[in-house]
Amino acid sequence: MKIKFVWLAVLLVLVGVFAIGCYTVLMHPQVQGEEEEAIEHSGAYYREHCTDCHGDYHSYPYGYYYGFYPDYYWSNPRWGHYYAYPWWWDRYWWDDDDDADYVPASEEKAERRRGLEPPYVPDTKTPASFINEPASRIEQQPAQIKGEAKPEAAKEQIKEEKPKDEKAQKRRKK
């Protein structure tokens, strides 16, 4: 009889975790009013860069903050690649089939294999120190990571950078 109660308790916990919700997010919530918009990683779509909506993305980038990892995962990229870099961030090839004939140059593939960098953030907006250091080292992080307000000029810079994304331009060649 006791066993049945244990199983019932476990079942309730599992249902609670998965049905009611928990910290883990599998799909990005749909933005009201934008349901019909197709998501293209073109550089033009505002949701391509997580920082456009999430001001604290540099502190807690989605899919990037996996608890307190030992420092060596960060300071030694090969260990970081093995343990901490999610497989779904690998961007060796284009995601969509509509450009199947396109073969990236080796430099471009190398660029995508850098690893330990959150996706969809322009290079200029992801401080190198954050990539290589654990988030717990607050004192070593740039000002915007500490939660301070970003300079206005930075926002304007984002808007200017998007059309310059060469990868996105290649995707639009048709």
Binding site: Y65, Y66, G67, N76, S136
Partner: protein, 456 residues
């Protein structure tokens, strides 16, 4: 355990004559029956004696390490498991995995048994029943594990599923003794239980993960017992030999639940609960006895008895707690596991009331504990490991001279960012004194574990 439930059995008795003398068959048959009955009674005693006077359930307290990284660290892995072995040690650790992993392992064990007069007592001078020095070595190479881990893409947190099979219990064992009077016994056992697991883990906060695994236990235990001895008095002299085999097939289900908490970058805490597992055991056994009479006349008797049985045994809850400390490149880990073996229970056994009373009388609760360390040399992609664990025998006995303890060491390599090769060595020893049969048993084991994992 040796069951005597009778579902199908047959008894063959062959009688041969080595002497040309004419013998009255009626008298010989009565003598044969009397001796066979005596041997059966003695066999029961001998069987119990070799089982240390308790119901010797091979699955109780039987821990066989999984994974070279874990065993290099003394098996202390509840808090720090972050590979496919988390299915066995703490399913919540799966949540720390971000790459698709395919892994496999081989194990090699060399068990060395030595027997002799019991330690602590002086063998009686001139006593032919005193054991002489003897022993036996048994080596086994087995497939240790195979697993695949599939992390689900997430925007935040972690969701990971895994499927694996791991050899978690080993029945490989041997023992040989001999006495001055020429009698000897050889006990051999081989096999193990594989754990087929389907598990998953999810982050429920930035630093808290929970996980569960559904387990199917499947395995075989092949046991054999060979014993040869003499009986002699003024009227009767005969030699007899047992050659018995027992084959048990185990199957059962249970679940394991785990939690992993990392309150800061230095500390990791893990906890696990193993639900009770009820094994269904299909047993085939054969008892063969050859008896050669010399007095009052020369003839021999061959007795063969086979039977099948099915019974169940339920193993109780098991609780585990682990702590990990991370200091830069140094990782320290410690685990404790608690199981109250007196709650073990036989079911569907015709004499299960007595068997269960023996469990209450003989077994005890046991605390298995592990400590280990891992140091990383990041520049050369190499880790060194060391550990220790104690795995107490789960029953009370004055015959336990030295409990089971193990020293471990290991090394690991990261190959081209996508593959690891880990090697571990485990050395263990324990000693038993059987004062009834005046035999001391000493066991040492050397295990090699080789694990490789590929990350896609």
């Amino acid at each position: 355990m040796h069951s005597t439930s009778h579902s199908l059995c047959f008894l063959d008795v062959d009688v041969g004559v080595d002497s040309p003398e004419v013998i009255y068959m009626t008298g010989r048959s009565l003598l044969t029956i009397a001796v066979v009955l005596c041997l059966t009674v003695f066999y029961s005693f001998a069987s119990n004696a070799q089982d240390l006077g308790v119901v010797d359930e091979a699955t109780a307290g039987n821990f066989f390490g999984v994974g070279a990284r874990a065993m290099g660290m003394g098996g202390a892995h509840i808090a720090v498991a972050n590979d496919a072995t988390a299915l066995v040690y703490n399913p919540a650790g799966l949540a720390r995995m971000k790459r698709i992993e395919l892994s496999g392992a081989l194990t090699h064990e060399r068990l060395n048994n030595e027997t002799g007069p019991p330690y602590g007592i002086r063998p009686a001078v001139g006593n032919p029943r005193t054991a002489t020095g003897d022993g036996q070595i048994q080596s086994n190479t087995r497939l240790g594990s195979g697993a695949i881990v599939l992390p689900v893409p997430t925007y935040r947190g972690s969701l990971v599923f895994a499927l694996g099979v791991n050899r978690v219990k080993s029945f490989d064992k041997t023992m040989r003794f001999s006495r001055k009077d020429g009698s000897y016994g050889i006990e051999s056992e081989s096999g193990g239980i594989y754990l087929w697991s389907l598990g998953g883990a999810v982050d429920i906060s930035p630093n808290v993960s929970v996980g569960a695994a559904l387990n199917f236990w499947d395995g075989t235990d092949n046991y054999s017992w060979l014993y040869e001895d003499w009986y002699e008095d003024d009227d009767l002299t005969f030699k007899y030999k047992y050659d018995d085999t027992i084959k048990d097939r185990y199957s059962g289900f249970n679940a394991k639940f785990g939690v992993r908490v990392q309150p800061n970058k230095f500390l990791i805490i893990g906890g696990t609960i193993d639900s009770p597992v009820t094994y269904t055991i299909d047993e085939d056994y054969t008892q063969k006895t050859d008896t050669i009479f010399y007095e009052p006349e020369d003839y021999w008797v061959r007795d063969r008895y086979s039977d099948k049985a099915e019974y169940k045994i339920s193993l109780p809850f098991s609780l585990g707690l682990g702590v990990g400390l991370n200091f830069g490149n140094l990782l320290l880990a410690s685990d404790v596991h608690y199981t109250d073996w007196t709650q073990m229970e036989y079911k569907r056994l015709w004499d299960m009331a007595e068997a269960n009373r023996n469990i209450k009388d003989s077994y005890t609760d046991a605390l298995r504990w592990h400590v280990g360390a891992e140091y990383l040399f990041p520049a050369i992609g190499t880790t060194l490991r060391a550990g220790y664990y104690q795995n107490p025998l789960p029953y009370q006995s004055m015959w336990i001279k030295e409990d089971r303890d193990y020293f471990t060491g290991g090394i690991g390599f990261l190959v081209d960012q996508v593959m690891t090769v880990d090697l571990a060595w485990v050395y263990g020893s324990w000693e038993l004194n059987d004062f009834d049969t005046e035999i001391a048993e000493k066991y040492t084991t050397n295990q090699i574990l080789l694990t490789t994992a590929y990350h896609f």
